[in-house]
Subunit: 318 residues, 2 copies
Amino acid sequence: MNAAVERLVAGVRAGDVPSVARAMTLVENREHVAAEILHALWPSTGRAWRIGVTGPPGAGKSTLAAALISSFRKAGKTVGVVAVDPTSPFTGGALLGDRVRMGVAHGDAGVFIRSMASRGDLGGLSAAAQEACDVLDAAGKDVVLVETVGVGQTEIEVIDAADTVVVVLHPEAGDAVQAMKAGLMEIADVFALNKADRPGADRLEQEILLSLGLRAHDATTWIPPVVRVVATTGEGVEALVAELDKHRADLETRGRLDERRMKRVEQRIRLLVETDLREKLFRLPEARNRLDRLVLEVRSGRTTPYTAARRILDGTTP
Amino acid sequence: MNAAVERLVAGVRAGDVPSVARAMTLVENREHVAAEILHALWPSTGRAWRIGVTGPPGAGKSTLAAALISSFRKAGKTVGVVAVDPTSPFTGGALLGDRVRMGVAHGDAGVFIRSMASRGDLGGLSAAAQEACDVLDAAGKDVVLVETVGVGQTEIEVIDAADTVVVVLHPEAGDAVQAMKAGLMEIADVFALNKADRPGADRLEQEILLSLGLRAHDATTWIPPVVRVVATTGEGVEALVAELDKHRADLETRGRLDERRMKRVEQRIRLLVETDLREKLFRLPEARNRLDRLVLEVRSGRTTPYTAARRILDGTTP
């Protein structure tokens, strides 16, 4: 490890804000040195409570995240936030609209917020988001909150790596059905029924409870509670935090925290292996040229994608 | 190729419905023999017009898909449909609610509809959906329509492989902003502004046009038209089909169809390579055991995910 990297790692460990910001930029840009930094930071991770906040578009995730941050701050906890936006090739970055609402915590040294956009790279977003959580964890944040729009496998993968998952739904547009379709009902540890003052809140609550009834469980299973909140006014947020605390306690007493973290480690190893192979097989100049040649062969009818893939895997096409 | 596979391939090519259904089941279940079948069918693909239909949850995609099917059928075209639902581990399959609305085409031998659910496998859904389109293409369908909920990278990947992409939006819940965030505005060839009889339709149209104004283009660039429809009554559907036809003609006259299909071939080769490697590195019994051992080593603090990944890549951990 060279001196600059060593200094950066020490800075992150000490919670130095510029070091944390710099490390996260390296991680987000998938710089090679990032792996070295993350490897060095790894032993300092594992202390933070990672909370995932997800839900369909428009459910009020960012507003609720801001309310949660305020609540944790009042309780004296430091907070790190990673907000993930799906790919947007032509904006070339995260759309900042929603993020602004998080501005509630702006200027508070106990909160570090990072907005991330994917570089259009399947897998890259998931890896970068989780590694950004590692940086915040190693920097000593008590709580690391990760927020994503909850539709799509990549996004669910990011959230699934959290210790506690909050699924935010709102009483409009058949949210419960959409959430079921998106696989959100299965990953929820706590439901936040946002905009609970609007018509349809009772019906949504019934739908959530109904879908939970379909879930297999025994006496030791954690049953996700449904907490009604109005994120814009802060109503119900303390009750939500109380349920999050209960879930954390449940994880710790039953050894499930370790189980979740084993899963997280496995997922991380797989992501690292896949990212490296993708680079070697498709991105490096020689690999890129080979792929281009094979595409032309398939288009001209001389081979099929199945044979082309076999040739890459066998290394028979130089 | 054994005799059973040969018969199945011949059956698909002849458009025999049970053969098509059987081939799609093999593809969806990721059976090994599927690759052999798809390899054999490949030379028969490329004739169908692939139309992707996507949009945020609740925009009315399935209803619009049903209206499009009716229209194509009236024009004497045969139609294949692949409807993709995101992962739902506890339902173990696609939720059938929406699909039922497609029942309009039920019992018509000129239409083949297949609903697919992911097996919780990143990449697997995208591969299976596109291969299902290949089967329908090889079976001689004039139009292959693929429908997904349009949020998340995997879903966008599926849609992006189509020749013509219809993005369905409706005038509720800030659809345009959500669609931008999800990267949908960039992949749209035609916008269907559904539920155009509802309040807010004018505003949504303005928002779409505004976002299109941000897109780089020159005189030869296809500018996605916005077509107002009411999918439930069929209003505007003929105008939508007319715009789809124009887009197809544009693709063909400017060599862009070939460009799109080159991209599709490349994506397919990459998916095949990645799926195979995932199997070899993480799923086969020996690989699974190795991964489990490495996870334990990381959890016990003896190594980090970065070193573990390196060991898998170097093959130094047997």
